[in-house]
């Protein structure tokens, strides 16, 4: 189901506590890149309109804005998605799931199956384009009320859901 891959952080130490983590689907890189591009285009549109409406016309020529946005776009869309992809992972235990994300601010969250109130498999429009889905786990804790595991191909999401359901049902008296 998943090849075990060790995710290392900058100083070469293994990043996660109890062993290897599974990676997300590689298509997640593409999906995230797409989202970033859309975001940058939206930012450019807003900046241009604001510039036209509010600032004196010679202060910030339209070309400068376009150039700035293009540079931002290039930097983020090329550099960031693979780094984010490499920093995300998950592992399924017999009664809990560990989800890790983030490089600079790293968060590794352990959610015991018994604590999952309900789980959703969500597919946004961009995710659908790239044939991915994400798992949303709802817990009662207000800190990690909803834990999200993105970048899963639909069959894998279904398998995970089944594993979690079976584990919960096994526990019911």
């Amino acid at each position: 189901m998943n090849e075990a891959v060790i995710i290392s952080d900058d100083d070469g130490q293994p990043g996660i506590t109890e062993g290897p983590l599974s990676r997300l689907d590689p298509r997640y890189k593409g999906a995230y890149r797409f989202m970033l591009i859309l975001g940058c285009v939206a930012l450019w549109a807003v900046a241009s309109v604001a510039n036209y409406l509010f600032l004196p016309p010679d202060l910030l020529p339209w070309k400068a804005i376009t150039a700035l946005c293009a540079v931002a776009l290039l930097l983020t869309a090329i550099i960031y998605p693979p780094r984010r992809y490499a920093a995300m992972g998950y592992r399924v235990d017999e009664d809990a799931i560990l989800i890790a994300r983030g490089r600079m601010f790293r968060s590794e969250t352990l959610v015991p199956f018994a604590r999952i109130q309900h789980l959703d498999i969500q597919r946004g429009p961009i995710e659908r384009l790239f044939k991915l889905s994400s798992l949303h786990l709802s817990t009662a804790g207000s800190r990690h009320g909803i834990v999200v595991l993105p970048g899963l191909p639909p069959h894998k999401a279904g398998v995970l859901r089944a594993i979690i359901r079976n584990s919960i049902q096994r526990e019911q008296p």
């Binding site: 952080d9 900058d10 506590t17 109890e18 009664d95 809990a96 600079m104 601010f105 790293r106 968060s107 590794e108 969250t109 352990l110 959610v111 015991p112 018994a114 604590r115 817990t139 009662a140 804790g141 207000s142 800190r143 990690h144 009320g145 834990v147 919960i168 526990e171 019911q172």
Partner: protein, 501 residues
């Protein structure tokens, strides 16, 4: 309204109206809005004469009173041995049946108006989302207590079905866990120093500066004799001490006043499903905090309280699915505003919690906590450099003062941030000025997360965040060495393996 006896077992009939005094209360409540505010606006803008405005006031008040009457008339309730029914609605009617099965307990609340008229607002505490499901506002206090007794009899009957014959006997009085004498209420107020009155007075003085100013007062005093200004100038230190003393006095006074208003007659009794807390001088609140909803215990203390050996005990309660009424029992609930350690221990045991360990038994956050926060202070060097460059020693002085001040603060905070994990409990303590000890049963752990920031990575430490239901934020153990945090993750989540709730 005279028929207070419940109907025979079976489906209850909603026959009783709320107390007619409800209409009076409704009208009184409407007076500010319909009787004064709206006509005042009309008078101001449309330039009616005062007599006309009065007429308009009477008119709006009458119309709103008619609605109050109609609403009273359309609301009926009734109850029998095992359920409460409510018929309500002017245009779209709604019949609601709440089985006693679903009711944990009954909350009775009286504000000043209620108390004068001898009525109360009764609401039921259900397991799921509360909302205004079962709110009767207002019925007589006797009726409210009768309904509460009926619910309790039902729940007692559930526990021991053979006690059916005792149905008519009044339930035994609940054991009192904690009660505050007036002296203790005042003492508690003294410890709750509050500068809010100072702020209010300052604001008022600011506003009325033209009509009444301190300089004019001084002028008046001076004309009578003593040369106040000169006196103040020569005894500046005394004057400042005097002012500080006055501010402190006002702070203590406002703390006492607040404590008297909210905690007068504070009584904690142990009910069947939860802890019942009655308190308040003008607004008397009677709240039940169900045992099942209690997530953590809290022991709070400020520096003055601690010196005299007093504690404040609270619990964090889950609350329902976020409806307004359920908020009453949600969040942090103070159960003992001022208690000594043995009283606190007794209450914790009664709640199924445990007394916290001694300071020495707990592990302290250590050096990393201090180092990390000192690293945060590094940007403070910038003003020093700028100050030196621009030859403005003031900026540099302020920055240096800030850094020097934060050294002992962070060091002590780091020492005071402690935790201890046993097989069933997690204790986390925080704070050097106001101290806060969280008592968390491991069965209440929802999620465990290890979060590492960039500075923490370099220092080799992490923050362990434990998600708990109904607790804003998380219970956090900060700046733990990474390996220790990883080792704690499993034991913390181990209890969560078995379903609870």
């Amino acid at each position: 309204m005279t028929d207070m006896a419940p109907a025979a077992s079976g489906s209850a009939i909603a026959r009783q109206h709320l107390s007619p005094l409800t209409i009076l209360i409704g009208v009184i409540r409407n007076i500010p809005q319909f009787g004064i505010f709206i006509p005042a606006i009309i008078w101001g803008t449309a330039r009616f004469s005062f007599g006309m405005a009065l007429l308009v006031a009477l008119g709006t008040l009458t119309i709103s009173s008619i609605f109050v009457y109609l609403r009273w008339n359309s609301f009926r309730f009734g109850y029998d041995d095992d359920e409460l029914v409510i018929h309500s609605g002017l245009i779209a009617t709604n019949r609601r049946a709440i089985p006693f099965d679903r009711i944990f307990d009954v909350n009775i609340e009286q504000d000043l108006l209620h108390r004068i008229l001898g009525v109360a607002k009764m609401s039921v505490e259900t397991g799921a989302s509360g909302g205004d499901e079962g709110e009767l506002n207002a019925i007589t206090l006797k009726q409210a207590e009768a309904i509460r007794d009926a619910v309790r009899r039902y729940r007692a009957g559930l526990r021991s079905p053979q006690a059916d014959g005792d149905r008519d006997a009044a339930p035994a009085a609940d054991p009192v866990l904690y009660a505050m004498t007036p002296g203790r209420v005042v003492l508690s107020g003294m410890f709750s120093f509050s500068l809010i009155l100072v702020a209010i007075i300052g604001g008022i003085l600011n506003r009325v500066d033209n009509a009444f100013s301190v300089t004019r007062v001084i002028d008046v005093i001076e004309s009578r004799g003593p040369n106040l200004r000169a006196y103040i100038a020569t005894h500046l230190l005394m004057a400042m001490i005097g002012i500080v003393a006055i501010i402190m006095l006002i702070g203590v006074l406002s703390g006492i006043i607040r404590s008297i208003l909210t905690d007068w007659g504070f009584t904690l009794t142990r009910g069947e499903t939860g802890v019942r807390r009655v308190r308040g001088l003008f607004t008397r609140t009677d709240t039940v905090i169900p045992f099942k909803r209690i997530q953590t215990g809290l022991i709070l203390s400020g520096p003055v309280r601690r010196t005299f050996g007093w504690l404040r005990v609270a619990v964090q309660s889950m609350g329902g699915a976020g409806q307004d009424e359920d908020r009453r029992s949600a969040g942090q609930q103070v159960l003992m505003p001022l208690a000594n350690p043995s009283e606190a221990d007794a209450l914790l045991h009664a709640l199924g919690l445990v007394a916290p360990p001694a300071q020495g038994a707990m592990q302290s956050a250590g050096l990393v906590y201090f180092l990390r926060r000192m690293i945060w202070m590094i940007p403070a060097i910038i003003p020093i450099i700028i100050g030196m460059v621009l030859d403005e020693p003031r900026w540099g002085a302020i920055a240096i003062a800030l850094i020097l001040l934060s050294i002992p603060v962070w060091w002590i905070s780091g020492r005071q941030h402690r935790f201890l994990l046993t097989s069933d409990w997690l204790f986390v303590q925080n704070g050097w000025w106001k101290r806060r000890m969280v008592i968390l049963p491991l069965s209440k752990v929802q999620t465990v997360s290890i979060d590492t920031g960039p500075i923490q990575r370099r220092l080799g430490s992490t923050t362990l965040n434990i998600g708990v239901a109904g607790v804003r934020g998380a219970v956090a153990i900060m700046d733990l060495p990474r390996q220790a945090a990883c080792d704690l993750m499993l034991p913390l989540a181990a209890r969560a393996r078995t379903t609870v709730f």
